[in-house]
Amino acid sequence: MDSNGFRPEHRFDVELVAVTKRYGGTVAVDGVSLRIPRATYCCLLGPSGCGKTSTLRMIAGHEVISEGDVLIHDVNVTDLPPVQRGTAMMFQSYALFPHLNCLDNVAFSLKARGVPKPERHRRARDYLARVHLQDYAERLPGQLSGGQQQRVALARALITEPRILLLDEPLSALDPFLRGQVREELKRLQRELGITFIHVTHSQDEAMALADLMVIMEAGRIRQAGPPREIFERPADAFVARFIGGHNILRDGAGTIAVRADRCRLGIPEAGPHIRGRVAAVEYQGSSVRVALAVDGGPPLSVVMPDDRFFAGPVQPGEEAALTWSTRDAHALPDPA
């Protein structure tokens, strides 16, 4: 997919080198460094205001970089406009041109590049067909559903054959059913095109499902970057463990530990480590049941267990209970300073 065949093989599609973004006195992105290998589905994940969108916009060239460098395919693009970076961005609100029909929206970037009308319309029709909207070419964006608008936006971004596709919360405006469908579609597209996608989201599920490389950000810094499984099994700190969910943050003799909620059990404390509390809530989730536990003087804990195990010995809210875990499942976390 590299359009510059003469360039020696690059190792990373995108490299951020100590990238910083300041707005006046506030630092939105604080010296972020990241290497994204070739053809990676990368998710930038974090709570709102963590700097993930600013980072994406700096890669896109829509935000001036205060300090540091951005490299795309080994070329320093820090001061280049978007079109020379070979990136294409899909905006959160899709940003379709309301006065142009779908065909002209998709063909817009070709028009900007001076491609003659018949040629650009032919190619725009191809891309509309790829997102199954060939019958909607003459419609205005306002006449389409949210999901259809999103597909037009996707076609418009892809028609430039970008090296990197940047997606700013692409699924946030969709209803949950459609979200799952589009998620699959995005992953399939990324595999087929063999280019890097950088996808900003605040949803852990979305990032886990999609990412080859998951980057967890907080307060303008990267807390942890790695494959989702690695992050889930070995969260770098208590923030990451809490943010990705599914973990109980506990203390044992040595310090702070994280234990996956599905590895914890309710039961009679034996010799092993345990913590006593009271059942606060029971949530039936189909194949599993989550029991929330309130502990005096501590954060709420939870135990996730298969439904058959729960119903073999059910508990009721208000009952005394103890949460037990095996030291084998304890993952040590650095003590918060």
Binding site: G61, V83, F91, A95, L96, F97, P98, H99, S109
Partner: protein, 305 residues
């Protein structure tokens, strides 16, 4: 049937307890009423009166109820009518072009280039505050500036750029245009700024992301999305220039006549019926032009390129 009866019986006491309310129809009438009253009394009735009078007969001493088309025949056959319409249209076109360019540029600057809301408000006020004074004063204020011995000529002479004062500055079509532009640019800025402010900034980013130059973004995105504002501003400026009386009278030095000044001459001569006829002609003409402009914009909107 029974179920309905029961339901009514059940809700009836609740209704009775409510305070009496105006029906929605009555509320609508109340809302429309004041403006409708003003428009009918101060606009529609006088216009109808003019329409009636325009068919009347007259002589040096008075006007006489009649139904005759002579007034219209006279207005439409006098060569002077065509001349002043052409002259007014020429002014209207020049002033429209200049105010459009100026107004669009200023509005674009205010909406897209001024980042701080406070600075934007201050700049908007700077545009608007001069308009709290009367148009007549703002017109006359140009005379000491543009005159033969005015500030501008004096400055050019002091700078040794010219030896003789420039004569064309005042009491000329040039002076008329300058004054019109000064008076009416705000009428362009307002509607255009309003429609520009409605453009989602993400659209401009999307255009840039697609590789569009500033110029392409302007032509393909900004201008199409602000065309309602442009049309509205154009209508305001056009109607103002076509209906002007004072500026042409003061600034042209008698070299140009406007439609309304010709009409004023007839009124001074107590020739009300022909004056009414030319007023009706002007109203009709401007209405047709405005309808034409609205059509251009709406048709484009419907066709949706």
């Amino acid at each position: 049937m029974e179920a309905v009866g029961q339901a009514t019986a059940f809700t009836a006491p609740a209704r009775a307890r409510r305070r009496p309310r105006l029906t929605s129809e009555a509320i609508s009438w109340l809302q429309v009423g004041p403006l409708a009253f003003i428009l009918i009394v101060f606009f529609a009735l006088p216009t109808v009166l003019f329409l009636v009078v325009s068919f009347f007969d007259y002589d040096r001493t008075g006007i006489y109820p009649a139904f005759m088309l002579d007034n219209y025949r006279e207005v439409l056959t006098t060569p002077a009518t065509l001349r002043i319409y052409v002259s007014s249209l020429k002014f209207a076109f020049i002033v429209w072009a200049i105010t459009l360019l100026l107004g669009f540029s200023i509005a674009h600057f205010l909406v897209f280039h001024v980042r701080s809301a406070a600075v934007r408000t201050v700049l908007f006020l700077l545009c608007a505050i001069p308009f709290w004074t009367s148009g007549i004063i703002r017109t006359i204020a140009w005379i000491p500036f543009l005159g033969r011995n005015g500030a501008f000529n004096q400055a050019l002479i002091d700078l040794h750029l010219i030896d003789q004062p420039l004569e064309f500055l005042l009491f000329s079509p040039f002076a008329v245009c300058v004054t019109y532009v000064h008076l009416f640019t705000l009428l362009m800025i307002g509607p255009i700024a309003n429609s520009l402010a409605k453009i989602d900034p993400a659209l401009l980013e999307a255009a840039r992301d697609a590789g569009a130059s500033r110029w392409r973004t302007m032509v393909d995105v900004v201008i199409p999305l602000s065309k309602t504002g442009i049309a509205l501003g154009s209508i305001l400026v056009f109607t103002q220039v076509m209906g002007d009386f004072f500026v042409v009278k003061q600034m042209s030095g008698g070299q140009s006549a406007s439609i309304v000044s010709a009409l004023a001459t007839e009124i001074q001569a107590m020739q009300y019926p022909p004056a009414a006829a030319s007023a009706m002609l002007l109203v009709l003409f401007v209405a047709i032009m405005v309808a034409g402009m609205m059509r251009v914009v709406d048709v484009r909107k419907e066709l949706v390129r």
